[in-house]
């Protein structure tokens, strides 16, 4: 699986009284990674809204491997599963750049609502069309061997 990458630094307000990044901040970091990926394909929340859709998160999973600490450089990797149903599942990883250690990994699933609040059970054609280049971007290149 291929990932899109973006980076950030741990901020003072993200560190708890034990000197580690508080677990709740990883959700916001995953959001940074997701926005960086979606921005490339005009699929930010405002783009969804313009097409007439909302995409609320219905499931969030995260496991924490190693603590991150103040001012560390973090590499965020984001990918998305090719959907088998009308839901978008993003996959996230947070790595410490200094030593290449995986700090946390998780996934988040969003469903689709129309403006009137109906949950859509199929991906609409206009959204599928916008997602196609995103999936192509994240596909692993074929091996030359």
């Amino acid at each position: 699986m291929k990932y899109d990458e973006t980076e950030l630094r741990v901020r003072f307000n993200e560190v708890d009284s034990w000197g580690m990044v508080w677990h709740g901040h990883y959700t916001a970091w995953f959001e940074v990674g997701r926005m960086a990926l979606l921005r490339k394909f005009r699929l930010l929340p405002q783009d969804f809204a313009q097409m007439g859709y909302l995409a609320p998160v219905v499931e969030l999973k995260c496991s924490f491997k190693e603590p991150a600490r103040l001012d560390e450089e973090i590499l965020l990797r984001t990918s998305i599963r090719k959907p088998t149903k009308a839901a978008l599942t993003f996959i996230f990883q947070a790595w410490r750049k200094k030593d290449g250690k995986l700090l946390a990994s998780g996934e988040e699933t969003q469903v689709l609502l129309a403006r009137d609040g109906r949950m859509l059970y199929y991906l609409p054609p206009d959204l599928k069309e916008r997602l196609t280049p995103l999936f192509a971007y994240l596909e692993e290149p074929e091996s030359a061997a």
């Binding site: 149903k85 009308a86 839901a87 469903v111 109906r118 859509l120 059970y121």
Partner: protein, 85 residues
């Protein structure tokens, strides 16, 4: 025939959603599938929609239709039967 379809749908629900500790006898024919009863959620609805389309070629486009169709297994069976006719 209708009873067979209700039983078939119960098995489809159990298999699709991997409800390991549930048997068809545990699912009431007229009990709610969502918000109580089996306690299914929105992602479960999506899984069921895909499974129902695959097996019965029925199309449930959104939660507006889903609200009626998923009211109970009996309601779902009536919907599938009507779509097949």
């Amino acid at each position: 025939m209708a009873e067979d379809l209700v039983l078939e749908l119960k098995r489809l629900i159990i298999d699709t959603l991997k409800l390991e500790d549930i048997t068809p006898e545990d699912i009431e024919d007229e009990g709610p599938l969502f918000g109580g009863g089996l306690g299914l959620d929105s992602i479960d609805a999506l899984e069921l929609v895909v499974a129902l389309e695959k097996k019965y070629k029925v199309f449930i486009p959104d939660s507006e239709v889903g609200k009626k169709v998923f009211r109970s297994v009996k309601a779902l069976a009536e919907f599938v039967k009507a779509q097949r006719a």
